[in-house]
Subunit: 437 residues, 2 copies
């Protein structure tokens, strides 16, 4: 269990002035990681840490040999085009690097003059997937989403009997994950128009987004060995935002009996920045089941997990369209929800995933599944917002939508806020639908 | 479309004498690829090609600079610890390397004296996964298996309406794929003993194997671009054997609504050797649907695909137990079936997988799903052999089985045979169940 340390001191400020108000959400208490290069260049991608509106180039920083011990070893792992080597080092290394970066970036640091030349403006950067993602697993941990979407696919039987016992998950496609994706509308088979007819084939007519968080695995486990619940957090490097684009009409026809496939694997968009679990420590919160809900089986329950197994992360979905961008309208707010309303938590996902001996590896990504909250304005997909496409939503500039149209852009943001502490933001995941090819 | 060329000449023999009868199934017409090193050593793994009971060390061969042009480029891609770089080069390179290796290993080759010192006895080798498998997809292409197993999970509704239109597939776990696996019996949740009770938790009681073939992707496709049916074969490097171990009791409880997860991802065992698609060219056969079956949708149908879309590959499942190995009994034959009985073929899987823009990458693995044939002795899982565990099978040495016990070993073999042509074998996939941890 990490506890709070000097890096979480709310009073800390940075000599990077833009880090010292809540505008960017990247104060010295956050220090999220990404892999970046100069926008439009053919430079090598390399790891960086955000501070205010700047990026500390970690590959360049490593060359200065300013840090010692585990912090130096961790920094030296940040010279490739992915964070996998850092992720593999483990929690004490991550924590040592965070502490050294925090001290180096604080107001009054003696290292300011050496580090200042290594700063890179975020406005000039482009990003790539921050890790080589070996395996991507998507879970289904919002009971509200499971109930809402279950009604669309199985009106009589929305929530299956296993839901409240098994953290339901399935394997997703790693190759089509990316940042800032622009992807053609998927094409595929959908249900026959009438029984006995051939299936229909063509561009997806019910294209959706899904508001999720992604959990990056740091250290893995050996095949055949499980990770106990109270050690699970030690294996987590950090969290990102995830949009699990979904072709609902393709999904409805293909998903039985083996689950979603082509309806999900054409694109999945993550945010470039990974907020470390240590940065989220001040936002841990109790994880308790409502009265009447079953308690998890013993391998998924512990006092520690109940006391602080959840995270208070607020998320928001926004949308722009071709027309709204042309007219320079602000993005439309579609919904907002909170990670703490999920039915299962991160440690439970790690432990469940490995209980059978399945091996996780550094850089693996676990999606939470759509994080819908209990209220109608807290749903994480347009399928839920429009009651399965039956009730269109009207955007502030007058356009209506049941599902996504070509040119539509979905932006997801996430942040942690509490009184007396700087805002900790995740940046955003942004992706745009192009016409079908 | 590859056609037959001089490497397929049935009359060719090799100066490696053990390649010249059908014992090994590795004649000069086969030339399968693996990644190997000296057994029990800490040598670097490197690619090799089988000839008879020997392996040509390709990393060592590359240093001799014996080949020219595309063959040399292909050979130079065989110096790492995986075949991914070779796979990424594409079909003309693979074919050029095959031709050069065929000429070098033929009786009378002028290169014999230079290559002979690079031979490595298969009996002294150990193998690793031949490629870094980025994504693993498992399909479900035997209509016989789908019907048989559907009866176990959904007695009233074994074959769902989508089966005859959609090549059903789902994403599997890449990290737990391996060769020669010995793995602990998985532990997990299973159905409550009675309605209203808690789920059961403990070691799997219904552990099964699945007889499959694996398809290694060679060249991939760009995200957003599909691979047309008549170009699909060009993207396939070759085939291996795959055993998709399955925990049926865990599967039955977890698989709704998102498909199998922990019931499959604890281990999946492939054969070390990849038989190239070019080596299988003489065993192409017609792919036609029986009278009364629907024809595939246009994107999954072509004259070429109908004329030669299937492969005549014979497979066999064998079993040993702790007791049979102690008593030195020969492995028990459990079943045999043929890949040509599948309802979908390799090109259709590639095309379907990418129709929505999903990107395949070099080294990706596609499993066929369990390849049960139409007859009761052609089923590819013990669930089918024992009618869902209701009718035990008796092994030749007297032991009975409904599902797999600790110590049980499953061996899967595959081969192609036809009159007047040397036997083309795949070697074997072997894996053993250890007690639960």
């Amino acid at each position: 269990m990490t506890t709070l340390n000097e890096t979480h001191d709310a009073a800390l400020t940075s000599w990077v002035a833009s880090a010292n108000d809540d505008t960017t959400g990247f104060p010295v208490q956050n220090l999220p990681f990404a892999v970046f290069r100069k926008r439009g260049s053919s430079e090598a991608f390399r790891p960086g840490v955000a501070i205010g509106d700047q990026i500390v180039d970690l590959a360049a920083l490593a060359k200065l040999n300013l840090f010692d011990g585990q912090a130096a070893a961790a920094l030296n792992a940040c010279t490739a085009d992915s964070l996998n080597a850092l992720m593999a080092l483990g929690r004490t290394h991550w924590s040592a690097l965070r502490l050294s970066l925090s001290r180096a970036l604080r107001t009054g640091s003696t290292l300011q003059s050496q580090i200042e030349p290594l700063l890179f403006a975020q406005s000039d950067a482009e990003y790539t997937t921050p890790a080589r993602i070996g395996d991507y697993t998507d879970f289904y941990i919002s009971v509200h989403h499971a109930t809402n979407i279950g009604k669309q696919f199985r009106p009589d039987n929305p929530l299956l009997p296993n839901y409240k016992w098994v953290p339901i998950g399935y394997h997703g496609r790693a190759s089509s994950l990316g940042v800032n994706q622009q992807f053609p509308r998927p094409v595929g088979q959908t249900r026959p128009a009438a029984e006995g007819e051939m299936p229909q084939f063509g561009p997806c007519q019910r294209l959706d987004y899904e508001l999720e968080l992604g959990v990056f695995v740091g250290t893995g486990n050996e095949q055949g060995h499980r990770i106990p619940l109270d050690q699970a957090d030690e294996h987590v490097f950090g969290l990102c935002i995830l949009n699990d684009w979904s072709a609902r009409d393709i999904q409805a026809w293909e998903y039985q009996p083996l689950g979603p496939f082509l309806s999900k694997n054409f694109a999945s968009t993550i945010s470039p920045w990974i907020v470390t679990l240590e940065a989220l420590e001040p936002f841990r919160t109790a994880f308790t089941r409502a009265a009447g809900e079953p308690q998890p089986l013993p391998y998924l329950a512990s006092d520690t997990n109940r006391a602080q197994g959840a995270y208070d992360v607020q998320m928001e979905v926004l949308m722009t369209t071709q027309a709204s961008r042309t007219a320079q309208h602000a993005p439309a707010h579609l919904s907002a929800s909170n990670f703490r309303d999920a039915y299962w938590n991160i440690a439970q996902l790690i432990t469940h995933h490995t209980v059978n001996g399945c091996n996780l590896q550094p850089g693996d990504l676990l999606g939470t599944g759509t994080l819908s909250g209990p209220e109608p304005d807290q749903v994480g997909s347009i399928l839920e917002l429009t009651q399965g496409g039956k009730t269109p939503i009207t955007l502030p500039w007058g356009e209506q939508r049941t599902f996504l149209q070509d040119g539509d852009q979905i932006i997801i943001r996430a942040e942690c806020r509490k009184p007396g502490y700087p805002r900790i933001a995740f940046g955003e995941s942004a992706g745009t639908v192009l016409p079908a090819r």
